[in-house]
């Protein structure tokens, strides 16, 4: 460092005076000075709006104005228990004794749909990543590019293509009718939670494959040979060596899909129909049609907190930290 410093200093001779000397002495200050425009933009455009969201969630919406006195009313609004004689709504057979159960139900439903999509993605992506890491010997780059390419094309169009696929007069229905398997189009394909889960899984599978692939690729092949030499059958070897060593990648993939899909807006809007809407649609409605910004802010924050909490809980449960230490 001492050798490098004089060279680095001469570049800064343009900066004169005390400030210049101070900067010259402190590497971190120069680093942060360089990063400051980027940081400033991120703070101004992301952190400030997020803080505003938090503040507004403690305000209330009256008919035309926003009442700026601090209150927890919006949060209470989301979980207020049902009063006497209120109709108690049920979801999947579970009663929700809340005054406005729609928000809690939507949150749970979104999380469940995201989880289903995540499981589907892992089940689809793992064998493919395994195939890429262990079976593909040549043209690996071409395979990898072919898989990641769709991820960089329009999300809107990929979602729309499932509408073409599953629609009433869509490809599956018209194809099956042409082939004579069915007489009437199947109505249950589009506009329901399953359609949303399929579409989400399709949209994210290419991206989620990469961390699994990287963790499989990193596995020391001599460990696999050792397991075989010591008498493990291929299946045992997979369960006892390959799978545990690839778990960190698998976990990153799961998070990579779960975190952004809970708040997805495009997919439920295009293929979800009334039964397949998610919490993102409710947030949009609150901000736009109902024009209740404080309640919308509260719901957004509850959703993000819930996702963060679930992620932390999950990482703690699987002992991610220990796993990472072992892997390195």
């Amino acid at each position: 460092m001492a050798v490098a410093e004089p060279g680095a200093v001469s570049g800064w001779t343009a900066v004169n005076g005390r400030w210049g000397t101070w900067l010259r002495r402190r590497e971190w200050a120069r680093g942060y000075l360089l990063m400051s425009p980027t940081l400033l933009v991120m703070v101004a455009m992301l952190i400030v709006p997020m803080i505003a969201l938090v503040i507004m969630s403690f305000w209330t919406q009256t008919v035309l104005e926003i009442d700026r006195t601090f209150t927890l009313e919006n949060y209470w609004h989301l979980i207020e228990p049902a009063g006497e004689g209120d109709e108690i709504p049920t979801w999947m057979g579970i009663p929700f004794p809340l005054k406005r159960a729609v928000y809690v139900v939507l949150l749970l439903k979104s999380i469940l749909m995201s989880l289903s999509a995540t499981v589907a993605v892992i089940l689809l992506a793992y064998p493919m990543a395994y195939f890429l890491a262990f079976r593909v010997k040549r043209h690996k780059m071409i395979w990898l590019m072919a898989i990641t390419l769709p991820f960089w094309t329009s999300y809107l169009l990929r979602v729309f293509s499932w509408k073409l696929m599953l629609g009433f007069g869509g490809v599956i229905n018209s194809g099956l009718m042409k082939l004579g398997f069915i007489k009437e189009p199947l109505e249950f394909l589009l506009y329901n939670p399953t359609a949303v889960v399929i579409t989400l899984a399709h949209s994210w599978v290419a991206f989620a494959l990469l961390p699994i692939y990287v963790s499989l690729e990193k596995i020391d092949r001599s460990l696999l040979e050792a397991a075989s030499d010591l008498g493990d059958r291929p299946w045992e070897r997979f369960l006892r060596v390959t799978l545990p060593l690839s778990l960190p990648g698998l976990i990153s993939s799961a998070l990579l899909v779960f975190i952004p899909t809970v708040g997805d807006y495009v997919t439920p809007t295009l293929v979800g129909g009334p039964s397949g809407i998610m919490v993102g649609n409710a947030i949009q409605t609150l901000f736009y049609r109902v024009n209740n910004i404080p309640l919308g802010s509260a719901l957004s924050l509850v959703m993000m907190l819930l996702v963060t909490l679930l992620v932390c809980l999950f990482l703690w449960a699987v002992g991610y930290r220990k796993m990472q230490q072992r892997a390195t």
Binding site: G31, L46, I47, R158, M165, V205, Y265
Partner: protein
């Protein structure tokens, strides 16, 4: 390519079919001579493309998207470059939280980011919604990607080169243009192309932050609701897909080429 036809290989190809089949329906039906996307297909036509080219509002949306995309890619890459340079060459205390802040747009749902931005812009600063607000939102989404690409390029960058340039009497500014910039160039081009594709395809931010001037995805979304508009919409979708694929392949090729020759002497 010598490969046994075992179940794994079959799965590999089936996976590719699953990945591509739905998306390929869009170009497939864009040539179909019918206003509905159903089998059996009718004759071949380029009618959808003709309608597409003659649609003035579509062309306007395309123009808007190009303007926003180019502006966003340049600005995001500049911000990404500054962050990547700061992150790769200085030992920074508290680097984790700082990098976390810049990467935050990758984990916060864009719906919430855009609505929060919208509320701030409209209710606090009373800024009218224009292409500028869309571009601002897109910069937010693009900067983390740009930074990651450029960090990958600048990592392992020989600091001695810049020091040599300084020692030989170049100013910091000239050192950047004559040493750092040429070495980072493949990464910069990859970042420009990547940010352009992200901005060009981005829908949620553009949907919430645009005023009367629509970008192409917002226009596309407004057309998806009208069944009689299907042929030009499919043609537009196919054109967007084709453009994205070309850009991604070029950018990926540049990035990989950049990584392979990352030893600065190899130019």
């Amino acid at each position: 390519m010598r490969m046994k036809l075992d179940p794994m290989t079959v799965y590999g190809f089936a996976f590719l079919v699953f990945l591509y089949a739905p998306v390929l329906l869009i170009p497939l039906f864009s040539f179909n001579d019918s206003t509905v996307a159903t089998f059996p297909m009718k004759g071949f036509t380029l009618n959808g493309y003709r309608l597409m080219v003659n649609d003035a509002s579509l062309m306007n949306a395309l123009k808007n998207s190009l303007i926003v995309g180019i502006g966003v890619s340049v600005v995001s890459t500049a911000f990404g470059m500054l962050a990547a340079m700061g992150a790769t060459r200085y030992a920074l205390p508290g680097k984790g939280p700082v990098m976390g802040t810049i990467m935050l747009p990758l984990v916060v749902p864009s719906l919430i980011v855009s609505i929060a931005l919208l509320v701030i812009l409209r209710k606090v600063f009373d800024v009218p919604l224009t292409l500028w607000t869309v571009a601002a939102g897109h910069v937010l989404v693009c900067v983390p990607f740009s930074m990651l690409v450029l960090i990958a390029r600048l990592e392992g960058f020989d600091k001695g080169l810049e020091e040599a340039s300084n020692d030989l009497g170049e100013s910091a500014w000239m050192t950047f243009w004559r040493v750092t910039f040429p070495i980072a160039l493949p990464g910069i081009v990859a970042s420009l192309l990547m940010c352009f594709t992200i901005s060009f395809d981005e829908f949620v931010m553009a949907f919430f932050l645009s005023g009367t001037d629509q970008t192409l995805p917002v226009f596309l979304y407004s057309q998806l609701r009208f069944p009689n508009k299907l042929p030009p919409t499919l043609s537009l979708g196919s054109s967007i897909l084709a453009a994205s694929i070309v850009i991604v392949i070029v950018s990926e090729w540049l990035r990989r080429r950049g990584v392979q020759t990352s030893k600065p002497g190899a130019f």
